[in-house]
Symmetry: C2
Subunit: 111 residues, 2 copies
Amino acid sequence: MVIKHSSEVEPQKLMDGAVLKRVFIAKDQAPTFVMRLFTLQPNAATPFHSHAWEHEVFVVEGKLKVVCEKGETIVEKGHFVYVAPNELHQFVNVSEGPSSFICVVPKEGEV
Amino acid sequence: MVIKHSSEVEPQKLMDGAVLKRVFIAKDQAPTFVMRLFTLQPNAATPFHSHAWEHEVFVVEGKLKVVCEKGETIVEKGHFVYVAPNELHQFVNVSEGPSSFICVVPKEGEV
Protein backbone atom coordinates (compact mmCIF):
# COMPACT_ATOMS: atom_id res chain seq x y z
CA MET A 1 0.00 0.00 0.00
CA VAL A 2 1.15 3.52 -0.79
CA ILE A 3 -0.45 6.48 0.98
CA LYS A 4 0.55 10.05 0.12
CA HIS A 5 -0.98 13.48 0.31
CA SER A 6 -0.96 15.20 -3.09
CA SER A 7 1.14 18.01 -1.58
CA GLU A 8 3.90 15.44 -0.99
CA VAL A 9 4.05 14.53 -4.67
CA GLU A 10 6.53 16.63 -6.65
CA PRO A 11 4.64 18.15 -9.60
CA GLN A 12 5.81 18.16 -13.19
CA LYS A 13 5.58 21.73 -14.50
CA LEU A 14 3.92 21.86 -17.90
CA MET A 15 3.33 24.91 -20.07
CA ASP A 16 5.81 27.06 -18.12
CA GLY A 17 4.19 26.09 -14.82
CA ALA A 18 0.65 27.09 -15.79
CA VAL A 19 -0.28 23.41 -15.53
CA LEU A 20 1.01 21.15 -12.74
CA LYS A 21 0.79 17.37 -13.09
CA ARG A 22 1.21 14.98 -10.17
CA VAL A 23 1.49 11.27 -10.95
CA PHE A 24 0.59 9.25 -7.86
CA ILE A 25 1.93 5.85 -8.88
CA ALA A 26 4.61 5.52 -11.52
CA LYS A 27 3.61 3.86 -14.76
CA ASP A 28 5.97 0.93 -14.14
CA GLN A 29 4.28 0.19 -10.79
CA ALA A 30 0.71 0.52 -12.01
CA PRO A 31 -0.78 -2.76 -13.23
CA THR A 32 -3.50 -1.30 -15.48
CA PHE A 33 -4.05 2.47 -15.27
CA VAL A 34 -2.47 5.63 -13.85
CA MET A 35 -4.14 8.31 -11.70
CA ARG A 36 -2.83 11.85 -12.06
CA LEU A 37 -3.85 15.16 -10.46
CA PHE A 38 -3.73 18.22 -12.74
CA THR A 39 -3.81 21.76 -11.36
CA LEU A 40 -4.39 24.64 -13.76
CA GLN A 41 -3.62 28.26 -12.91
CA PRO A 42 -6.31 30.84 -13.82
CA ASN A 43 -6.84 30.98 -17.62
CA ALA A 44 -4.50 28.04 -18.18
CA ALA A 45 -5.65 25.42 -20.67
CA THR A 46 -4.64 21.97 -21.75
CA PRO A 47 -4.20 21.50 -25.54
CA PHE A 48 -7.27 20.87 -27.72
CA HIS A 49 -6.21 17.41 -28.79
CA SER A 50 -7.13 13.74 -29.03
CA HIS A 51 -5.40 10.40 -28.48
CA ALA A 52 -6.15 6.70 -28.71
CA TRP A 53 -6.91 6.23 -25.00
CA GLU A 54 -9.79 7.33 -22.80
CA HIS A 55 -9.81 9.79 -19.87
CA GLU A 56 -11.91 9.53 -16.76
CA VAL A 57 -11.86 12.86 -14.95
CA PHE A 58 -13.22 14.03 -11.59
CA VAL A 59 -13.14 17.72 -10.68
CA VAL A 60 -11.70 18.42 -7.22
CA GLU A 61 -11.65 22.23 -7.02
CA GLY A 62 -12.36 25.33 -9.09
CA LYS A 63 -14.36 25.76 -12.27
CA LEU A 64 -13.36 24.52 -15.71
CA LYS A 65 -14.64 24.83 -19.24
CA VAL A 66 -14.60 21.48 -21.05
CA VAL A 67 -14.34 21.93 -24.79
CA CYS A 68 -15.21 19.26 -27.33
CA GLU A 69 -16.16 19.35 -31.01
CA LYS A 70 -19.84 19.83 -30.14
CA GLY A 71 -19.38 22.75 -27.77
CA GLU A 72 -18.44 23.74 -24.24
CA THR A 73 -19.63 22.79 -20.77
CA ILE A 74 -18.76 24.35 -17.41
CA VAL A 75 -17.87 21.87 -14.66
CA GLU A 76 -16.93 22.24 -11.02
CA LYS A 77 -16.22 20.15 -7.91
CA GLY A 78 -18.08 16.85 -8.08
CA HIS A 79 -18.38 16.69 -11.86
CA PHE A 80 -17.23 13.63 -13.76
CA VAL A 81 -16.06 13.76 -17.41
CA TYR A 82 -15.58 10.74 -19.64
CA VAL A 83 -13.54 11.40 -22.77
CA ALA A 84 -13.72 8.50 -25.21
CA PRO A 85 -10.70 7.30 -27.19
CA ASN A 86 -9.90 9.61 -30.17
CA GLU A 87 -12.30 12.33 -29.00
CA LEU A 88 -11.05 15.93 -29.19
CA HIS A 89 -11.05 17.64 -25.78
CA GLN A 90 -9.62 20.56 -23.83
CA PHE A 91 -9.84 21.78 -20.23
CA VAL A 92 -9.68 25.52 -19.50
CA ASN A 93 -9.59 26.98 -15.98
CA VAL A 94 -12.29 29.67 -15.84
CA SER A 95 -12.11 30.36 -12.10
CA GLU A 96 -10.13 33.06 -10.31
CA GLY A 97 -8.03 30.55 -8.37
CA PRO A 98 -6.46 27.23 -9.32
CA SER A 99 -8.65 24.40 -10.64
CA SER A 100 -7.75 20.77 -10.09
CA PHE A 101 -8.97 17.49 -11.44
CA ILE A 102 -8.12 13.83 -11.22
CA CYS A 103 -7.46 12.33 -14.66
CA VAL A 104 -7.08 8.58 -15.02
CA VAL A 105 -5.67 6.95 -18.14
CA PRO A 106 -4.69 3.41 -19.10
CA LYS A 107 -0.95 2.86 -18.68
CA GLU A 108 -0.17 3.53 -22.34
CA GLY A 109 -1.66 7.03 -21.91
CA GLU A 110 0.85 8.09 -19.27
CA VAL A 111 3.73 9.48 -21.31
CA MET B 1 -18.01 12.61 -24.09
CA VAL B 2 -20.13 12.13 -21.00
CA ILE B 3 -20.37 14.91 -18.39
CA LYS B 4 -22.34 14.44 -15.19
CA HIS B 5 -22.35 15.86 -11.69
CA SER B 6 -22.04 13.10 -9.09
CA SER B 7 -25.35 14.21 -7.61
CA GLU B 8 -27.01 13.22 -10.91
CA VAL B 9 -25.76 9.64 -10.64
CA GLU B 10 -28.16 7.32 -8.83
CA PRO B 11 -26.23 5.66 -6.00
CA GLN B 12 -26.23 1.96 -5.21
CA LYS B 13 -26.99 1.54 -1.52
CA LEU B 14 -24.60 -0.89 0.13
CA MET B 15 -24.62 -2.05 3.76
CA ASP B 16 -28.17 -0.80 4.38
CA GLY B 17 -27.32 2.60 2.93
CA ALA B 18 -24.28 3.25 5.16
CA VAL B 19 -22.16 3.14 2.01
CA LEU B 20 -23.24 4.75 -1.27
CA LYS B 21 -21.54 3.80 -4.52
CA ARG B 22 -21.83 5.82 -7.71
CA VAL B 23 -20.45 4.31 -10.92
CA PHE B 24 -19.77 7.05 -13.45
CA ILE B 25 -19.40 4.98 -16.59
CA ALA B 26 -20.87 1.50 -16.83
CA LYS B 27 -18.43 -1.37 -17.03
CA ASP B 28 -19.58 -2.27 -20.56
CA GLN B 29 -18.78 1.27 -21.79
CA ALA B 30 -15.40 1.58 -20.08
CA PRO B 31 -12.51 0.41 -22.27
CA THR B 32 -10.01 -0.33 -19.46
CA PHE B 33 -11.01 0.78 -15.95
CA VAL B 34 -14.00 2.09 -13.99
CA MET B 35 -14.17 5.18 -11.76
CA ARG B 36 -16.56 5.04 -8.79
CA LEU B 37 -17.37 7.50 -6.00
CA PHE B 38 -17.97 5.97 -2.57
CA THR B 39 -19.64 7.94 0.24
CA LEU B 40 -19.51 6.53 3.76
CA GLN B 41 -21.79 7.71 6.55
CA PRO B 42 -20.15 8.39 9.95
CA ASN B 43 -18.66 5.17 11.42
CA ALA B 44 -19.44 3.23 8.25
CA ALA B 45 -16.73 0.89 6.99
CA THR B 46 -16.00 -1.13 3.89
CA PRO B 47 -15.14 -4.81 4.54
CA PHE B 48 -11.56 -5.75 5.51
CA HIS B 49 -10.88 -7.79 2.38
CA SER B 50 -8.62 -8.37 -0.58
CA HIS B 51 -9.03 -9.17 -4.27
CA ALA B 52 -6.92 -9.80 -7.33
CA TRP B 53 -7.12 -6.23 -8.69
CA GLU B 54 -5.63 -2.94 -7.56
CA HIS B 55 -7.38 0.18 -6.23
CA GLU B 56 -6.33 3.75 -6.84
CA VAL B 57 -8.14 6.01 -4.40
CA PHE B 58 -8.36 9.81 -3.99
CA VAL B 59 -10.07 11.30 -0.95
CA VAL B 60 -12.59 14.03 -1.80
CA GLU B 61 -14.14 14.91 1.58
CA GLY B 62 -14.10 13.90 5.24
CA LYS B 63 -11.58 11.87 7.18
CA LEU B 64 -11.01 8.13 6.85
CA LYS B 65 -8.97 5.47 8.59
CA VAL B 66 -7.24 3.17 6.11
CA VAL B 67 -6.56 -0.24 7.60
CA CYS B 68 -4.06 -2.74 6.21
CA GLU B 69 -2.20 -5.69 7.71
CA LYS B 70 0.60 -3.42 8.91
CA GLY B 71 -1.57 -0.88 10.71
CA GLU B 72 -3.80 2.14 10.24
CA THR B 73 -3.39 5.57 8.65
CA ILE B 74 -5.69 8.59 8.76
CA VAL B 75 -6.34 10.26 5.41
CA GLU B 76 -8.35 13.28 4.34
CA LYS B 77 -9.05 15.43 1.28
CA GLY B 78 -6.14 15.34 -1.12
CA HIS B 79 -4.74 11.99 0.00
CA PHE B 80 -4.05 9.27 -2.52
CA VAL B 81 -4.08 5.55 -1.60
CA TYR B 82 -2.73 2.77 -3.79
CA VAL B 83 -3.88 -0.72 -2.80
CA ALA B 84 -1.92 -3.43 -4.62
CA PRO B 85 -3.57 -6.61 -5.96
CA ASN B 86 -4.29 -9.15 -3.18
CA GLU B 87 -3.54 -6.66 -0.39
CA LEU B 88 -5.94 -6.62 2.58
CA HIS B 89 -7.56 -3.21 3.07
CA GLN B 90 -10.49 -1.41 4.69
CA PHE B 91 -11.78 2.17 4.77
CA VAL B 92 -13.54 3.50 7.88
CA ASN B 93 -15.17 6.93 8.08
CA VAL B 94 -13.86 8.58 11.25
CA SER B 95 -15.36 12.04 10.65
CA GLU B 96 -18.63 13.43 11.98
CA GLY B 97 -20.08 13.91 8.49
CA PRO B 98 -19.94 11.84 5.32
CA SER B 99 -16.57 10.93 3.80
CA SER B 100 -16.15 10.39 0.08
CA PHE B 101 -13.43 9.00 -2.11
CA ILE B 102 -12.86 8.18 -5.74
CA CYS B 103 -11.91 4.53 -6.22
CA VAL B 104 -10.72 3.33 -9.63
CA VAL B 105 -10.45 -0.34 -10.53
CA PRO B 106 -9.70 -2.25 -13.72
CA LYS B 107 -12.91 -3.40 -15.42
CA GLU B 108 -12.80 -6.86 -13.87
CA GLY B 109 -12.92 -5.25 -10.42
CA GLU B 110 -16.30 -3.59 -11.01
CA VAL B 111 -18.77 -6.25 -9.93
